[in-house]
């Protein structure tokens, strides 16, 4: 049995207590996307600004949720800020693969992620702090907490692409 320490690594609690990039951005110019975890009620609002070079020039996170969803959002904001949209999407894919081991067994979001070998595909992507969330896969119902912000980010990118 996985213990609480596997889930609540210190760095996670730190991001939860002191979330980075918390707040709002003015819309427009920023884009605003809301995400829900239908099971527990967690809500994430992603505000995102992209510049003419396709860079994520700014990102802010709103909403409420558990330590896992909030810390994941906080770390995400740091990981993608200043990156190109393409890079941010790659990081998203890498993170979702990290989380995917049980996702198909908790159902509901239509994700078709499979238990790929993370290290092989993503060896060149550095998830940094985010790897602290790896322990979440041992708690299947919490995976959706960890991926909520990322799904919302993907949706935001999709909407931005459609708009332009």
């Amino acid at each position: 049995m996985a213990g609480l320490e596997d889930l609540y690594r210190e760095i996670i609690l730190d991001h939860y207590r002191t979330p980075r990039n918390k707040g709002e951005l003015e819309t427009p110019p920023a884009h605003r996307t809301e995400g829900f975890n239908p099971l527990c009620g967690d809500e994430i609002v992603v505000y995102i600004d992209t510049d003419d070079n396709g860079l994520v020039s700014d990102i802010k996170i709103g909403g409420q949720g558990c330590s896992i969803s909030q810390s994941s959002a906080s770390m995400m904001s740091m990981a993608v800020k200043g990156k190109t949209v393409d890079e941010a999407r790659q990081i998203t894919s890498a993170f979702k693969r990290l989380m995917s081991i049980h996702e198909t067994n908790v159902g509901g979001d239509g994700s078709e992620a499979e238990a790929d070998d993370f290290d092989e595909i993503d060896a060149d992507i550095d998830l940094g702090d985010l790897e602290a969330l790896q322990g979440v896969v041992k708690f299947p119902t919490r995976i959706k907490c960890a991926t909520l912000a990322w799904n919302t980010l993907s949706q935001a990118f999709d909407e931005i692409a459609e708009d332009s």
């Binding site: 049995m1 213990g3 609480l4 889930l7 609540y8 609690l13 099971l39 527990c40 009620g41 967690d42 809500e43 409420q64 949720g65 558990c66 330590s67 896992i68 969803s69 909030q70 708690f139 919490r142 907490c145």
Partner: protein, 413 residues
């Protein structure tokens, strides 16, 4: 004490799942408001059908089919008796309470609602008693009005008459699955009747816990699920007044709900058949019948008394042990509420609370409890909900208190 009390130790013997040990700890199941556990009597009744008398119902002449049919229909009789229904044919078996409410919203609604008509709901409804009405309201262009909720977690009935003025439907819960609040059902159904509206009572949280008499409640429809009252998954109940049910068009079409079918069209059967299209939840009905027998055997009044006592003990103990960090939503008077405690532990999120509690083998439920409008009313996005039933005792409450203290300490407030 000379008043009888519930013999929980004896009851627990009927629930093998509760003697489970999780990581060396006694399993403490406090999530019966989501779904309850099953006594062997219920499982045996279902196994008995599968092992000796299984066949499709209503259509066979052979003995297995007769036994299965009679077991299925006896379950209807038991449920009718349990809720004081004057006629067993008023008891419709659905797949869950949610389907029961959708049935009313769609079948009664499409026949009786017109653009501009008002449907009155309360802010403490479960999504099962909101979304079906929003769907039909959107389809038929009806208005939805909301009965507000006070800070104490009770319905604010100040403007009820205005809200009901000209309304066609008043749908409300008999007991909040979040706050534990017990609503004055008879008073509300009477107000609906006075306003010319039908009353639809979501009785999911009351039928399992107190004695129910549809005549006393004065409702037109009530809905509940077997899985919250010791019965199996896969079956719920709609009870409705015979004349209303008789006048309603069918909901789902198929075998078992027709008198005749030609290439030109079909003629619907009477109730309950009309609303039970396809092969019904045969064995599940038998399980529900056995659950009802089990509950009646204990006595609903004794069950209610036990839950009030346990709730009082819990409110006292949790407040003492966890102190000001803990907020218990809903009415402060145990006798005015059911055995459902929605907790907020300072700024530890309910999801995290539950996770720590699971380490202590304490099973509670975090989340919005399918009552998002209510959560928004209280400006929370999740609560940690503990709920009790006949098999819970003060040891369970003590374990909950211990675990909450541990959770608080883990997140070192």
């Amino acid at each position: 004490m000379s008043t009888p009390t519930l013999d929980v130790a004896a009851i627990r013997k009927d629930f093998p799942i509760l003697s489970q040990v999780q990581d060396g700890k006694r399993l403490v199941f406090l999530d019966s408001a989501a779904s309850s556990q099953h006594p062997t009597q219920v499982l045996d009744a279902m196994n008995d059908i599968y092992l000796h008398s299984y066949a499709n119902v209503h259509r066979g002449v052979y003995q297995l089919a007769e036994r299965a049919t009679s077991a299925y229909e006896s379950a209807r009789d038991s449920v009718a008796r349990f809720i004081g229904a004057p006629d067993p044919n008023e008891v419709i078996f659905t797949k869950n309470a949610t389907e029961a409410i959708n049935l009313v919203a769609q079948s009664w609604g499409r026949q009786n609602l017109k653009p501009g008509d008002a449907i009155v709901l309360t802010l403490m409804e479960h999504h099962a008693n909101i979304v079906p009405w929003q769907m039909i309201a959107a389809e038929l262009d009806c208005e939805i009005r909301w009965v507000p909720v006070t800070d104490e977690g009770e319905l604010d009935l100040t403007d009820l008459d205005q809200l009901l003025d000209g309304a066609k439907v008043f749908a409300f819960t008999s007991m909040s699955n979040v706050l534990g609040t017990i609503n004055p059902v008879a008073r509300l159904t009477q107000a609906a009747r006075a306003a010319g509206a039908i009353s639809v009572v979501d009785a999911c949280q009351s039928v399992p816990h107190f004695s129910t008499d549809v005549a006393e409640l004065g409702a037109d429809f009530i809905a509940f699920s077997a899985h919250k009252m010791l019965g199996p998954s896969g079956i719920g109940v709609l009870w409705g007044k015979k004349d209303l049910l008789d006048a309603m068009p069918p909901f789902l079409g198929g075998g078992g709900m027709i008198l005749n079918v030609t290439t030109e069209g079909f003629t619907a059967d009477g109730v309950p058949g009309k609303f039970e299209a396809g092969t019904p939840p045969i064995v599940e009905a038998v399980g529900l019948g056995a659950a009802v027998d089990y509950l009646e055997n204990i006595g609903m009044d004794l069950i209610r008394q036990h839950e009030v006592e346990l709730t009082a003990y819990a409110m006292r103990t949790l407040t003492e042990r966890v102190g000001d960090d803990l907020l218990i939503m809903g009415p402060s008077e145990p006798a005015a509420r059911g055995g459902v405690l929605s907790l907020s532990l300072a700024d530890v999120h309910a999801h995290d609370v539950s996770q720590v509690l699971d380490e202590h083998a304490v099973c509670i439920r975090p989340g919005h409890h399918c009552a998002k409008p209510l959560m928004r009313r209280f400006d929370v996005n999740a609560t940690a909900r503990a709920s009790v039933y006949i098999y819970n005792d003060i040891d369970d409450i003590d374990a909950l208190a211990d675990a909450l203290v541990a959770a608080r300490d883990f997140f070192s407030l």
